[in-house]
Point group: D2
Chain length 265, copies 4
């Protein structure tokens, strides 16, 4: 077959013998040593170079999401490394594959939830009272539909998640406390009266709100949680080399296995 029109367009990377171009820039001359890694990650996804303030908020989010101890994803990565130590990429991939709806999905779900609510507004509030009104409608609808509000509640930090006020403060300092964060804060203020109990605004949720305020596409917010977690997982795998726990996890399960007939009797 003659494929005269074969063409695979990209804005990301191209190269020729003398030059490597990335995002339309000269990688060696214009990017190396001149942009930070977080800045580049933002640029790659957003297709535009972020401002210093945007970089600061973005990196704060990545730091907040990088690790949370022995999560199921960290344990899965360590067990995979135990089984196949020659393939670091496999252990990292196994850990990231747990980055789905339940353990890493809150960031994306919260960003999307807020974005949907904001998209439905005919005009945006200009003060907290206005946002509280929007939040009351949003929380009321969720309650009527028996839907959980993403980003509300935390199994450990039942009173307050320490990440939340810090990220809001930093976004505010950089002039990036936009509609998603404002609506999220308003939900934090109004939900007790509607739901009958007080839940914290959790860290994963506030990160989603902050990323959405940075103009990053809500369909890809999970991707930033995955990037952050990639660093955390590398930390776990480095520690697994120095001070392994994978074999102990395996043995703990293996030694306490009990046969259960398929009919459960």
């Amino acid at each position: 077959m003659a494929d005269r029109e074969l063409s695979f367009p990209t804005a990301i990377g191209t190269s020729d013998p003398d030059q490597i171009r990335l995002l339309g820039q000269d990688l060696a001359a214009d990017l190396m040593g001149k942009v930070g890694f977080g800045e580049l990650a933002y640029w790659l996804v957003a297709g535009r170079r972020p401002t210093p303030g945007e970089v600061r908020v973005f990196e704060t989010v990545l730091v907040a999401l990088a690790d949370h101890g022995f999560t199921p994803t960290a344990i899965a990565a360590r067990l995979t490394y135990l089984s196949a130590p020659e393939s670091l990429q496999g252990a990292l991939a196994a850990g990231l594959l747990g980055g789905g709806s339940r353990f890493l999905g809150v960031t994306e779900d919260c960003g999307r939830f807020l974005a949907d609510a904001i998209a439905g507004l005919t005009e945006r509030p200009t003060d907290d009272a206005g946002w509280d009104e929007v939040a009351r409608a949003v929380v009321g609808t969720a309650r009527a539909d028996r839907r959980l509000i993403p980003g509300l509640g935390h199994p450990v930090h039942k009173v307050g998640d320490p990440r939340t006020p810090v990220l809001i403060r930093i976004a505010d300092e950089e002039g990036l406390r936009g509609p998603h964060l404002r609506l999220f804060e308003a939900i934090g203020r109004v939900h007790p009266a509607i739901l009958g109990r007080t839940l914290p605004l959790n860290g994963a949720g506030v990160c989603g709100a902050a990323l959405a305020d940075l103009g990053l596409p809500v369909e890809l917010l999970r991707g930033f949680a995955l990037l952050a977690r990639a660093a955390g997982l590398l930390g776990h795998l480095a520690e697994e080399r120095r001070n392994p726990i994978g074999m102990d996890v395996y043995r703990t399960v293996d030694r306490n296995t009990r046969y259960l007939p398929p009919d459960g009797s």
Copy 2:
């Protein structure tokens, strides 16, 4: 079974209702907004906080390795996203799984090659002439064993890889041009006389040398290439949403499929 001694130690993350601790620090009070994402990744793997100079060299490496256009790994990630768009983590993992010996392994292989050579020295050279002597022995041995020297040669940048001098300069500026980089540079100077042809020091190799000079464990250098590539792959997946090429790649292959009997006749 009573497991009185069950204990899973970690230096990474722990939390209680009031505080999230990461690397022994208070995540919200001491890390968020105060350490960069690259800095945190370094800290997680090395187990110690890097200096600002180390962070600069480290982030330069991550920027250098983040993307190189439509590599096989980027294409694999895009095809996986085409097939399963609901699972961003799966597409990212598929891309990272190509981070093995052939396409992302040079960084680690080069760092390890240099580290092994340096480990065998009874004393380290103090000037370029001394490193040249070491390099001549190393290149000569590799040639005698018919082994390739990792980091030497590039299919596109046949004369010189533009990333190499930039990274060496930045490491030098930060006082981090250590034995691995010096030996790598010496290999670049001496190999033409021994091998009979002049090959460039490639970007993946110089990144491995620089990471080894940062004191990062050579067994995990591939991990940093994977972290960098995670950002590049997110860029590809974001672009695949805006301007997809996966279906065109698939159709190009599918339309040009030709049946070949198993015996190859």
Copy 3:
């Protein structure tokens, strides 16, 4: 912590120095050489040993789904093998990760769609006329909701998918042409009058219907498509060793890359 009650129950596998037990059977004495691989896979998921007729239908489904040429998932697996040939498990995993909603999901989606429709019936029809009536309601509702009916239509086999009548015949021969297949066939008969065009019942869909009639859990039907595809992907990887195409795919894309500014101009 004392975990006196640690207990991890399973009906699958346990072992002691003399015996390996699988599904409550003695692996060496009762299973090896006595049950086929497809039979064991069925048993593992269903928790009960299948009848010979069930095995025949089940293996027919696995054969039907094992491969379909250079699909995106097969190409992704081959590109990953090109990049990391030392990790066969990584290449296989990359291929399976494309087993999501668009390319392998139809089997599960169709089984679930039919199961949901059947679950809503107060009584089940006893003849084709009765099933046609149910099908008209189901197709009409889907049309009103502007939802596609999973399993209906195929990009290549526009008139008829050759797999469909064969699987229905085999299920019928084994007395396993149950409500899911009957409703699926009825949809095939009634949809032209409602939708205004005639679409084939596709092979992935009929496999979902057949698996559901075998009593396998609809939430796991995708799993059987993945198991079948694992065999197909191994075939692709074996062929990639003998007669590689991965590098040609990569080069075709790489040589036809065109830089596109991020703003798309």
Copy 4:
């Protein structure tokens, strides 16, 4: 670019509107209902249709390798399913990614070890005494090189692995007890006198020997272990739906986490 010569050859699958061809056969007319799933998997990898005896030995191997209880890979798959239940393919892939050198690699390593030894023979023995002589040389060399012999020894089945004699008997019944199995058996007979202790021939090893005797490529033997394990992992994931243990594994680790400073003090 005009790619007049674009051509992607394959012996596996092609299709046109009327027919799906797989391995040069008509899928619907010649394969569905006529070849078993194990038979097809063998055919896909070997590129030739196996005999019934070969299928019997092959499926016995797959049954033997399908599962071994709560292995690290099974636990990793369950933890991934816990974290991302919407992506069954991700959980399965995570489990398979542990199919590397330590936990699933013995099958391939043993087949390769035996094949290498046999490739070095000028002529093949015709009786057990002859194979014993070869085995003594092989075991002696491995001992001198301080290399372990793959397939020898087992952490649980210290006296004898119950799978080993069964597989040898079945291969013998089918006339497929070839040089790899004979050498493996000879290693079992002669090693105690050389190594000074008696180790069992383990099940993973005997499977590798049997697969090599079937003429399957030793570089891909790990692939069959992965295919077998895919069925076992689906069984675990089905059970995780019915009777989950993932959350308990996570909690057991999480509750017993102890902070360890990076310097290990």
